[in-house]
Amino acid sequence: MDPRYDVELVDVSKRYGATTAVDAISLRIPKASYCCLLGPSGCGKTSTLRMIAGHESISGGDVLIDGRNVTGLPPVKRGTAMMFQSYALFPHLSCVDNVAFSLRMRGVGKAERLRKAREFLDLVQLGAYAERLPAQLSGGQQQRVALARALIIGPQVLLLDEPLSALDPFLRVRVREELKRLQRELGITFIHVTHSQDEAMALADQMVMMEDGHIRQVGTPRDVFERPASSFIARFIGGQNVLTGSAGPIAIRADRCRLEPAGPGGVPASVVAVEYLGTVVRVALKTNSGEEASVMVPDHVYYAAPVEPGSGTRLTWSPDDEHALAA
């Protein structure tokens, strides 16, 4: 029972009949950190989150929160609060009643709980909408009410299930900032499930890469991006070229690669597509040995020597930027 960690998973598994969704994973999440569970659909990240919350029973192993073994305890006794992907705001209650719900369940008096609820609505800048029904709010506003509702119970760990998926791209960036700010201010741990690596890298103090029910890598976003543990992670994180080197698979950042005119050295390849992305131009390649790669060329560099799809070229990089992959 290590009080340095807010959440500890010890050999936690989840089985649905014959299928294993989560296979004996172990994880330690430090106090007051922003942890992102990242991976493709079906990797087990949501099941893991729900097991920490207590909404999913645990098939094996233990979950510890703040040093206490909470395996088998109902959600309300764990010190966690969950923000659902669909927000799950009670449609028949006003915003303030939604936020005050947990207090009502505990038997807090009406005046007291409404006062406290309004406080939390003010915290998310929605004080003016207290009497409105959820249906009368926009998606972003509904999410803030859901947040207020979760925070009012004073959780030690806030669990967020794909909170940004339903928002449009512009809103996503703004809400992302708010979530990070909130986490810092409140000084509690956020565990955030997502399938978007941009989101995870921007937010996480600790990034947990999951695949097929297993944890593949844990580290800071920088660790994972610079030194991905496997080709799967390198491809998922993006912005990397996974190629076969002399001693096994290697990864090189796409922006650290260069395009050279045909000649000796490097990897010969042909240009497949050219995409203008504003600050960079992405040139997609197929190497002569059949592997896919891309190079992010700064725009001024590209336009000094543009290439055409179908033309031959050479992919080069500095050996220092090469990273050997385990598999």
Partner: protein, 307 residues
Amino acid sequence: MMQASGTHALELVVDGRPRARVGLPAWAVSWLQVAPVAVVLAVLFVAPTVLFLVVSFFDYDRVGMYPAFMLDNYVEVFTTPATLRIYLSSLRFALIVWATTLFLGFSIAQFLVFHVRTARMRMLLFLACAIPFWTSGIIRTIAWIPFLGRNGAFNTMLLDLRIIDTPLEFLLFSDFSVIITYVHLYTLLMIGPIANSLSKIDKALIEAARDAGASRFQTLFWVIIPLARTGIVLGSILVFTQVIGDYFVVKRMSGGQSASIVSALSTEIQAMQFPPASANAVVLVAFVAVLVAGMMRIVDVRKELVS
């Protein structure tokens, strides 16, 4: 299906650490929730059915009935020519009514779901179809009599418009009036389930069909109808069983020319001849069960309804 944990549990705390909870597994909770319905149906439906199954083997005379195990009652049922006659007659009515209500019901459901634009109009029209349903079936049945009779409103109207010279006789107390009445009473049973099925069809599927070059009719036949089969089967089951189980309409509207299976049964019941009535009842139940089971093979009703 995912199940929420810790929702129906009592906690046991031993040595300050939570142990596995003593609680009700999810399936036991479901049992408690469905128990009242199960008990009611068992006592008031299953038991009485078993009862008349048992009684159908009894002996009887003018005074009462005597527990026995005889097949005489069944022999009686199967060797009476009247039995076959009324079963065939009921089946004939059922088929004609089924076809008519299916056509009408499907067309109207299709109109409501696909052609009516606003939700408000759709609800209004659906209500318009449903309101007559709230008046007792008996009254609606006999209301056809003044309408269809020789001096009835329909004949009067046709005479006034000089479409005919003498009143139409076949309208009332004939097969025609029986069928008209059934259609009047039971079309809603088709509209409801079919409209429900149709509304669940993803509009994109229809657009994709049109996009691929299907005509309206082809789309209807190859896309819409197959996707609506649950509603069609459900409506068909309801209409069929109502017609075959009918007690009143045939008696009233055929002017005594036809008898329904059930009204023949009720005569025996009123004469307190329970064993033969029971035998008749069992045969009817078997007949209906075979029909319904057959119809349910086309669509797995349970999977579609209990999602």
